[in-house]
Structures are given as C-alpha cells and as structure tokens.
C-alpha cells in the first residue's frame, strides 16, 4: 500500500540537539558569537579544538541533514509519483465513471423512452378500452331498448296467455256442461233411437208397400196412356184423312152444278150438322182423353214424388243405420268411460271426471310450468356459468397481461434503480477521492479540473436523481390510474356479463314467443277455430246442385214446350174440324161410325178406370185410415201468390172432437204443417216443436199423436 502521508520523522534527542535542529544549515562560524566571558586565556587552545570538533560535528550533522533531506526529497518524489499515478488512475476512473454515467444517462433516457412508449401504449389501450366501453354502452342502450320492446311483447304475450287461460277455464266449464248435456242427450238419443227404429221399420214396410202399389199403378197408367196415345194418334190421323176427304168432296161438290141442289141438300146439311156435332163430341172426348193423359202425367209425377219419398226413406234408413252405429259407438264409449271411471282413483261418477280432469290438468300445467321454470333457471345458470367463465378467462388474461407489464416495468425500474445505486456509489467514491486530493492540495491543476468535473457530474447526477424520482412518482401515479381503470374495466365487464345474460334470456323468450306464434299460425292455417266465437257457413246451392237443378229445369222446360206444341196442334185440329162440315161421304160416315164405336169403348174403359180408381182410392183411404189411424182429406188450393198447392186434412180415429184436425200443405215434394187451434194447444205445439221442427219427421209426430190419443181414449 502506498502510504500517502509520510510517517512522522523521528526527532533526535535533546542532548544531541544541534542548533540546526530546525533544519537550517547554519555555518558554525556564523554561529552567533558567544558572549565573551571573563574567562582566562588558557581556555584559548581549548577553544581552537572545540571549533574544529564543532565543525566536524556540524559537518556530520550537515551531512546527516543532507542525507535525510535527500531521503526526504526522494520520498517526496516517490510520493509525488505515486500521487501522479493515483491522479492518472483517478482520472481514468473518472473517465470510466463518466462513461458509466453517460451509459446510465443513456439507459435512463432509454428507460424514459420506454416508459413514455409504455405510457403511450397504456393511453392508447385506455382510449381503446374507453371506445369499446362507449360502444358497449351504446350497445347496452340499444339492448335496453330491445329489452323494453321484448318486455312489452312479453306483457302482450302474458295478457294473451291470461286471456287464453280465461278462455281455457271458460272452455273447461263449458266442457263440464257439455259433458252433462252429452249424457242427457245420450239417454234421449237412446230413447229416440228405439222409437226411430220402430218407426223406421213401420215406415219402411209402409213405404215399400205404397211404392209397389204406385209402381203397379204407374205401370198400368203408363200402359193405358200409351194405348190412349196410340188411339189419339190414330184418331188424329183419321181426322186428318177425314178432313182431307172432306176437302176433296167439297171440291167435287163445288165443281158439280148448282142444280143438283134439292131437298136432299137440307137432309144432307142436317146430316152434316149432326156429324159436326158428332165430331165436336169426338173432339170433346179427345179433350177428355187429353185430360186423362194429363191425369196420367200427374200420376207419373206422383210416382216420381213417391220415388223421391222412397229415396228419402232410404236415406233416412241409412241415417238410422248411422245413428245405430253412432249409438253403438256411444255405448262402447260409455262402457269404456265406465271402465276408465272404475280404474281412475278418486272418481265415483261421471260428474267427478271433469273435476278430476281439471285437477289433473292443473297438476300437469303446474308441473310443466315448474319444469319450464327449472329448465329456464338451469339454462340461466348455465349461461351465467359460461359468461362467468368467459369473464374469468378474459380477466385472467388481462391480469396476466397487466402482471407481465407490471413485472416488466418493475424490472426496468429495478434496473434503473440498480443503475442509480451503482452511479451513486461511484459518485460517493469519487467524492471521497476528491476530498482526499483536496486535502493534500499539491496537484492544483488536475485537482481543480477534477473538482469542477466532479461538481458537474454531481449536478447532473442530482438532476438525474430528481428525474428518476419524478419518473417513479409518475409511474406510481400511472399504476394508481391503471389500478383504477382495471377496477372500472372489471365493473364494466360485470355489467357486460349481466347484460349479456339478460340478452340471452330475452333471446330465449323471443324464441319461445316466436315458436308460440308459429304454432298459432299453423293452427290458423290448419283451419282451427273457436266454436264459441266462430261458425263455418257454406252456400247451399253449390255448383253441383245448381247444375242438377238446371238440368231438371231444362228437362221440364223441354217437356213444357212439347206439351204446348201438342196443345197447339190439337187446337188447330179443333179449328179445322170446326171449319169443316158441309159434305160427308159414306166412307167418312163409316169412319165416323168406327170412331164412335172406339170412343164408346174408350168411354166405357174410362168409366171402368174411374170406377176402379174410385174403388182403389176408397180402399186405399180406408186402409190408410185403419193402418195409420188418420182420415185423410185431400183438396187443391191456390195460394195468394198463385202457386197451386195440395192441402191434406188429417183427423185421428181416436180424436175426441171434430176440432182435432191436422192440416198439411204439400208443394213439389215439401210438406209443411199449418197452424190451427188444435196445433196451438200446449201439448200438441210441444210435439210439433220436437218432432217436426227439430227432428223434421211428420210420421213420428203423427205416430206419437196417435199413441197419445189412443192412450187418452183407452184411459178415459
């Protein structure tokens, strides 16, 4: 180790202390002259010796002092050299420290730049997060609007639901009523079924017998009509021939001379007049034939009506069969219901079924609602879980990112702090060295320079320290700001998650409502409707019916036209027969005789037919009366609008007075009952209401009335 301060010199002893002990070279001769003492001369030789010895001593001392001075100078030289070396070394170290300082400054600047960049990045991120937040807030506001709309929709749906529930409750009440009414109607229907069965059997047998009779009559009348037609045609041809011959005779007569007129002419004229009368009578008979032909046609129409009735009866029989089948089905259903009644616990009668049904429905509905609620809650929880996991993952990533950033910043801070500490340590060391150098005060130029530089370095270091402190404070502030922003972001994320959950629940409700709407639309499209508020109507005269009616109308119109043509022809014949009558040939008279014979036979036949018809009609009437218990009187009337109708008056054989008569009006296949005093009685009107108005069955009404009248008669 280089000793900086030379060790203190050892002082010689006091005894050997020489006057040049302080280092001055004092020539002995220069020594102050001693004070002459008043001593004797003998001391003069001693004095000469003493001076020589003193001089020798002084020389020795001087030499010693020289050597010591030389040694000291050498020491001082070596010390100066060492000091110079130290100076050089300190300068080198100073340069090093300066370089290190510069490096530290550069690193500080770099760290500042990085901090600035980080701050900028943070600011950017903050701006971006703010923008995202603003967007999310905007989305949130939009979602709130949607949410309100969905709430309104939901309220509407709830109101619809409540209305539907009310309707359902009403329907259930109606169901119960309907079930009761169904039971009542079942019993009534069963009774009616049995009655209908019996009536149908009777009516079927009656109608079949009537049909056969009418068919026979119709066939007979058709045959007669054909025969009469042929006869008519023959008569017409004969008439035509007669007329033709008459014309020829007239011509012949006109060509013959007027002179041949004699008294025979008057006879001839009389004959002709008689024959005219005969012709007129024949024409009259022809008219009667035509009337009978018309009667035949009327019979034909009646046949058709009977056929229609037969078809209706067959249709009613089919309906009966269907009613029987329905009755069997109802019975089967009843039995199945009864068996289910027995199986269902807590149900003793049919009235308990709707209550039990309602209770079960309510339970099912409650269960379904609970299930729905539970599933909704499950889904909400799942959604919340998913959202929470996503949020957690996001937060974790963000936290990891921020942690990484913080660690990076911390590392940088540590680095800068280390740099700072190292620079401060170096600075302290430099300060100590500088202080030591200052204390010696030998190297003025270099020490003054180094002092200045050290002061500059110290000043710059202090500035850097201040900057570093400011940076640290700003970093702390940034950290606080970051922490606050992180908290805000967390809060916003939580809000986001809540909103997203709400959105998902709203979306689920939206889907549910849409599915309900789709179901309702499908029901609408399917054609379902509420029978309480809607009824389905269709036109009676559909196109098929119209076409059939048109065809029948056209056929009837054609027949009308044909009959009109025939009538015109017959009227023309009548005119022609009226115009003719002047001269008759014997051939014509023979023909007239033949025609008369034919007419006589036709008349006889007609009378026979009338008698037979009257007999048959009376037999038929009596049979009807005895079989059905009613005397039927038929007569034709004309209504106020000019339409001819047939009126039937029925009187029961069990009637207790002549006022107990039923009146029916028949028009083109439709029979309707007419009101009178008898039908306005309470029990009769009730029966009319049930059998005729509701069940549309006059035979049932008359049969019921017959039974009741019979019971009254027998009881009375």
């Amino acid at each position: 180790m280089i000793v900086r301060t030379p060790p203190p010199k050892k002082r010689r002893s006091e005894a050997t202390e020489s006057p040049n002990s302080d280092g001055r070279f004092i020539i002995f001769e220069d020594l102050p002259e001693p004070q002459p003492e008043p001593e004797p001369s003998h001391q003069h030789s001693d004095q000469m010796l003493c001076t020589y010895q003193c001089r020798q001593l002084v020389k020795a001392d001087f030499l010693d002092a020289l050597s010591s001075a030389e040694k000291q100078s050498q020491d001082y030289k070596s010390k100066v050299e060492t000091m110079n070396d130290d100076l050089h070394r300190s300068e080198a170290e100073k340069m090093k420290f300066r370089d290190q300082l510069l490096y530290a400054e550069q690193e500080l600047a770099a760290a500042k730049g990085r901090e600035q960049a980080l701050q900028d990045q943070l600011l950017k991120e903050i701006h971006e997060s703010q923008e995202r937040l603003r967007k999310q807030i905007h989305i949130h506001s939009e979602l709130e609007v949607k949410f309100r709309k969905e709430i309104d929709l939901r309220k509407n749906a709830e109101s619809l639901l409540s209305a539907a529930e009310q309707k359902a409750s009403l329907l259930e009440g109606k169901l119960s009523h309907v079930s009761e009414s169904i039971e009542r109607e079942k019993n009534r229907l069963q009774k009616e079924l049995t009655l209908l069965k019996e009536e149908s059997k009777h009516s079927m047998s009656r109608i079949s017998a009537d049909l056969e009779m009418m068919e026979c009559k119709a066939s007979n009348s058709e045959k007669e009509a054909a025969v009469l037609k042929e006869q008519l045609e023959n008569l017409q041809t004969k008439l035509n021939e007669c007329l033709h011959e008459k014309n020829e005779v007239e011509k012949k007569l006109s060509t013959s001379t007027y002179q041949e007129f004699s008294s025979d002419d008057s006879i001839l004229v009389k004959h002709l007049r008689e024959e005219l009368r005969n012709y007129e009578s024949e024409v009259h008979e022809a008219r009667k034939l035509k009337a009978s032909h018309e009667d035949v046609e009327l019979l034909r129409e009646k046949l058709l009506e009977e056929k229609g009735r037969r078809e209706r009866a067959e249709a009613e029989a089919l309906k009966l069969l269907e009613a029987q089948i329905n009755g069997k089905k109802l019975e089967d259903e009843l039995s199945s219901w009864k068996s289910t009644l027995k199986e269902i616990p807590g149900v003793t009668s049919a009235a308990d079924i709707p209550l039990k049904f309602e209770a079960l429905q309510k339970e099912v509905l409650e269960g379904m609602m609970k299930m729905g609620e539970v599933t909704a809650r499950l889904k909400q929880v799942e959604v919340a879980l998913d959202v929470a996991e996503n949020a957690r993952q996001n937060v974790e990533t963000k936290a990891a990112l921020t942690n990484e950033k913080v660690e990076l910043l911390k590392l940088e801070l540590k680095r800068t702090e280390l740099m700072l500490s190292s620079t401060t340590e170096e600075r302290d060391r430099l300060k100590i060295i500088i202080d030591e150098l200052k204390q010696q005060k030998n190297v003025e130029a270099g020490s003054a320079m180094t002092d200045g530089k050290v002061k500059e370095l110290e000043a710059s270091l202090s500035m850097k320290e201040d900057l570093i402190k400011k940076l640290e404070s700003s970093i702390l502030e940034q950290k606080d700001v970051n922490a606050r922003q992180h908290n805000e972001m967390k809060l916003l994320n939580e809000r986001l998650s809540n909103e997203s959950r709400r959105i998902k629940s709203l979306e689920r409700e939206d889907d549910r409502l849409r599915s309900e709407i789709a179901i309702l639309e499908s029901k609408l499209g399917h054609g379902d409707f509420s029978s309480a508020s809607t009824k389905v109507l269709r036109m009676v005269n559909s196109l098929a019916v119209d076409s059939d009616a048109k065809k029948t109308i056209e056929a009837l119109q054609n027949e009308l036209q044909q009959t009109k043509d025939k009538l015109q022809a017959i009227e023309e014949l009548k005119k022609q027969s009226g115009d003719a009558g002047t001269l008759v040939d014997s051939y014509i008279s023979g023909k007239v005789v033949q025609l008369k014979e034919q007419i006589a036979t036709l008349e006889k036949r007609e009378e026979r037919y009338k008698a037979v018809f009257a007999d048959r009609i009376s037999v038929f009437r009596r049979a009807c009366c005895e079989l059905f218990g009613y005397k039927i009187v038929m007569d034709d009337h004309q209504r106020s609008d000019g339409i001819p109708v047939t009126r039937f008056t029925l009187q029961s054989i069990y009637a207790q007075s002549d006022d107990e008569k039923l009146q029916f009006e028949y028009e083109s296949g439709n029979t309707k009952i007419l009101g009178n005093n008898y039908t306005q009685q309470s029990d009769i009107s009730h029966q009319v209401e049930i059998f005729i108005r509701k069940l549309n069955s006059i035979p049932a009404f008359t049969a019921n009335l017959t039974v009741e009248s019979f019971n009254k008669r027998t009881l009375s």
Partner: protein
C-alpha cells in the same frame, strides 16, 4: 322535378269492402285457373291490378262467385266476417286436397263509428299484385291435381250472424297434417287480409 311523396287516398268501410270482395273474386278465379279445376278454354283474359288475370266464363261459376261476393260484402260491412276459405276437393270422394285461407282482420272502430282511413290506392294495388303473383307461382310447389276436382267456399263468421236461407252451417273441411305456405298480405287500413295455402302432403314427397 316532380314530388315523390306518396299521396294518400281516403278509404271508407264500403270502399274497403269493395276492394276485398273484388280481390277475392279475382283470387278465386286465379286459383281455379292455376290449379286446373276448370279447363283453360273456359277462362278469358282481363287486365286487373296491372296484371293479366283470367276470369271464368262458365255461367255457373260466375253466378256462384257473384252471389258469394254479395253475401261476403254484407258480412264485411257488418264486420262479422273472420275468414274466407276456398276448398278444393276431389269430385269422386270429396276428399279435401287444398285450403286457400284468407284471414280478415277488421278495424272495429271503423265499423262502429264509421270513420275513414287514409292509404294510397297504389300501395294497396301493389300489395294485391304481389299476392296474385304468388298465387300464379304456387304451381311450382303445390302437388299436381291429377283427379277431377271441385271447389267450395267456406265463410268463418261471428256466432251472432243470422244464417241466410241460401247458406248452411258446415264442417271446416280440414286437412290432416297439412303442409302450409304463407303468402303476402294486404292492408286497406280497415281490413287486413292474410293469405295462406295449406295442402295435403303428396305421397311422393312423403316417400
């Protein structure tokens, strides 16, 4: 430059009824032509709603639809008509193959108070035109009607409607498990008409 703002026309209950019943007449004819219920030669071409439409010349169909429209107009003016359904059935078995459903929503305030509404006639015509186009294009997805068919019209009315003597109550003639296609709708602001066709699944499609 001419103004492009849409001018609104005043529409009364009677006017709206006329529009709806006229629409139904043309729609029914279009359906009968496109579905081949009646032969092509029995139809004549006319211009309506800016489109060439076909009207049946069969006297029976004409009178049927005319009588129908008279009654439908009466019910529409009273606000009692809920739906009109044109049903196409097989002639042999009366099996229902297609149901053309026209649902009607009536503004009750107009019926009760007799107020009028405003809407552009052109807008209504445009909406009806869209429906007519859809009816014409329905042959692309509706199954072919191979058998001879007939049609009938059902009216869904309120319960308090008096049934005229030329009408009778009927079953709704539903189709089991139908396919449904919803068409466009038109709105006169007094009557809103939604169109929907439901048809029986074709056996080939089911396979």
């Amino acid at each position: 430059m001419a103004s492009k703002t849409a001018t609104k026309d005043i529409i009364t209950l009677r006017g709206s009824t006329a529009i709806v019943s006229e629409f139904f007449g043309y729609a029914a004819n279009s359906i009968l032509y496109n579905r081949g219920v009646y032969p092509e030669e029995s139809f004549a071409r006319v211009k309506k709603y800016g489109l060439p439409l076909l009207l049946s010349q069969d006297e029976g169909v004409k009178t049927f639809i005319a009588n129908l429209n008279t009654q439908l107009s009466e019910w529409l003016e009273a606000g009692k008509l809920q739906r009109i359904v044109l049903v196409i059935m097989t002639k042999a078995t009366n099996e229902v193959l297609e149901r053309w459903n026209f649902s009607i929503e009536t503004d009750k305030e107009v019926v009760e108070k007799g107020v009028s509404r405003e809407k552009s006639d052109k807008e209504i015509m445009r909406e009806i035109q869209a429906i007519m186009r859809q009816i014409a294009s329905s042959i692309t997805y509706l199954p072919c009607l191979d058998e001879p068919c007939i049609f009938d019209v059902l009216a869904y009315t309120d319960m308090d409607v008096a049934v005229p003597f030329t009408w009778t109550e009927s079953d709704p003639k539903l189709i089991a498990n139908p396919q449904m296609v919803k068409l466009h709708s038109f709105d006169t602001k007094i009557h809103k008409v939604d169109t929907l066709v439901s048809y029986k699944n074709d056996e080939w499609d089911e396979q």
